[in-house]
Symmetry: C2
Subunit: 320 residues, 2 copies
């Protein structure tokens, strides 16, 4: 089958062997897949991954338990052992022996077929189109914040970064009734938030020192963003780290101690609230789609995803 394969040096569309469903696994025919910033990090060497890229997808079960065959599904990306202490504690997303689709020791979804543990599958409601369902995984990462913290309508929240994740986080936070200010570089990206009563602010006009926010979400992935996020958090406030800063950076952490800030690292999240919000139209992902490429042109899709100003690039894997 065709796939976008990364050999550790370069990513190319290659013929690779079809995956097998195997024990407790399902074989999924991929309809549509999304490119995440993590994919771009991986081809720069992050995680030392080699294999088929991609971890955001929607598709249809071809092989697996009878009750799943023919179902349209999305799938969680952490393949847990289901027996270690963390798995037994309900923290399978942190399983010490986990493989991660397209990221760590498991082939990904930029292909015609992908193998996924049956326990990772979620049915997609028939009313939800593929173009929205493919956002379940990144939207779940935004909902993770609500699983980790109590966000109330009285809170003043700031989201730093108007990339894909920042825009999803701003929508999710606004859904709690909290006052949300999204700070970014691109007015044309931020406009999609106006329908959600999110205030927007150009980063050049943002005064972090006077922001005094209850909750700040760092979604720029830059050390400058992290410094701004620390400065924008009120004493005893909460700072959510939603993106890994690529390079270790000289950051002064003393303000965390002086202002007794709580920093919460936040990664993958729960699929059910994300699917529910997409199905009920509580979030709007359509404005986030920049372009869709067929699988055969997946390397161009990767290049496009890395261009400034681009939001979500999708890969249509349904074409032969």
């Amino acid at each position: 089958m065709k796939s976008l394969y990364f050999d550790g040096r370069r990513a190319a569309v290659e013929e690779r062997q079809e995956p097998e469903a195997g024990q407790a696994m399902a074989l999924v025919q991929v309809h549509l897949a999304g490119i995440c910033s993590t994919d771009l990090e991986i081809i720069r060497g992050y995680m030392s991954f080699q294999g088929i890229l991609g971890h955001e997808f929607v598709g249809e079960v071809l092989e697996g338990p009878a009750e799943w065959c023919g179902q349209r599904v999305v799938g969680e990306i952490n393949f847990a052992c289901e027996s270690c202490g963390l798995c037994r504690a309900g923290l399978g997303r942190h399983c010490v022996a986990r493989r991660v689709m397209g990221i760590l020791e498991a082939d990904g979804a930029f292909a015609h077929r992908v193998a996924v543990p049956v326990s990772n599958l979620h049915r997609v409601p028939t009313t939800l189109p593929d173009e929205a369902a493919v956002f379940t995984e990144p939207l779940a990462a935004a909902f993770e914040i609500l699983e980790q913290l109590e966000v109330t309508a009285e809170m003043r929240c700031i989201v730093l970064g108007d990339g894909k994740l920042g825009l999803l986080v701003a929508q999710v936070l606004a859904g709690t009734g909290a006052r949300v200010i999204a700070v970014g570089r691109h007015p044309e990206k931020l406009t999609c938030l106006e329908a959600f009563d999110v205030e927007t602010c150009q980063v050049g006009a943002f005064d972090s020192a006077s922001a005094n926010a209850d909750l700040v979400v760092e979604a720029t992935g830059t050390s400058r963003g992290l410094e701004q996020a620390i400065a924008a958090t009120r004493p005893r406030g909460t700072l959510v780290l939603k993106s890994t800063v690529a390079e270790p950076s000289q950051i002064d952490l003393a303000p965390l101690v002086i202002n007794e800030i709580r920093v919460v690292g936040s990664r993958c999240g729960p699929f059910e609230p994300a699917l529910d919000a997409l199905t009920r139209g509580l979030v709007d992902v359509a404005p986030l789609i920049t372009e869709t490429f067929p699988l055969i042109r997946a390397t161009q899709a990767l290049s496009r995803a890395g261009e400034p100003g681009v939001l979500k690039v999708l890969i249509d894997c349904s074409q032969p």
Copy 2:
């Protein structure tokens, strides 16, 4: 009066004008004061402070409201405005307009007399000797952890650093019934923890990658310690930053996101539980006292406090 004055370049015992009690302030005759690592940071330039050093003290009220005069007291170090939003929210220790004794715009306690807001005073029980009461402020900083987090007997805790604060934190955590492991460089410092059922470990023998702790307290103040602390915290565990790392350092924060670690900055704490624990003998501070100097030899006291292996150095301010 005599005092240890820091002019921004050097600290010296000097004659300075006596403070006045003033509105809502008390004038305290200092009996005994303690040197904190922050004092050593200040004479290296931290906070750009100029004035009389010192913020850990016990003494007797000379002037102030009648009900306080003659009382033996300790005093909180943050002088709050009592009118800003943070003060009204009960977060006076984070008051935006605060002065901080011996640290920020307020003279400190390495002197015969010090001026303290009456609302910052706490009476010292008659059974508690000065040599123990002088530890109230640093012990309160250890108790701050229990104000910020729920620590339960089921938890496995690691304290990194066997300096004064680390040893106090280990005792306080052990008091919750939690399993506590203290990691440090100095066996002779760690031994005082044995009476509190704290396990001890030499830093060279400590394997942070397999520690998997529910709660880690970073009390080394080094970037190496912070990296070890991040590695020692289990997924979804909590890391308390108790000391500011002096120099901004190249630290890889990605594990915070991947393992969804919660980092809690922690500074000054509540005096009442600290005084209570000292009075009831639930903590033992006597082994932490390395040496006591008279005020006239306060510069030697500072030098001694900065020597390797030294714990608490006290300054006896009662002598004329």
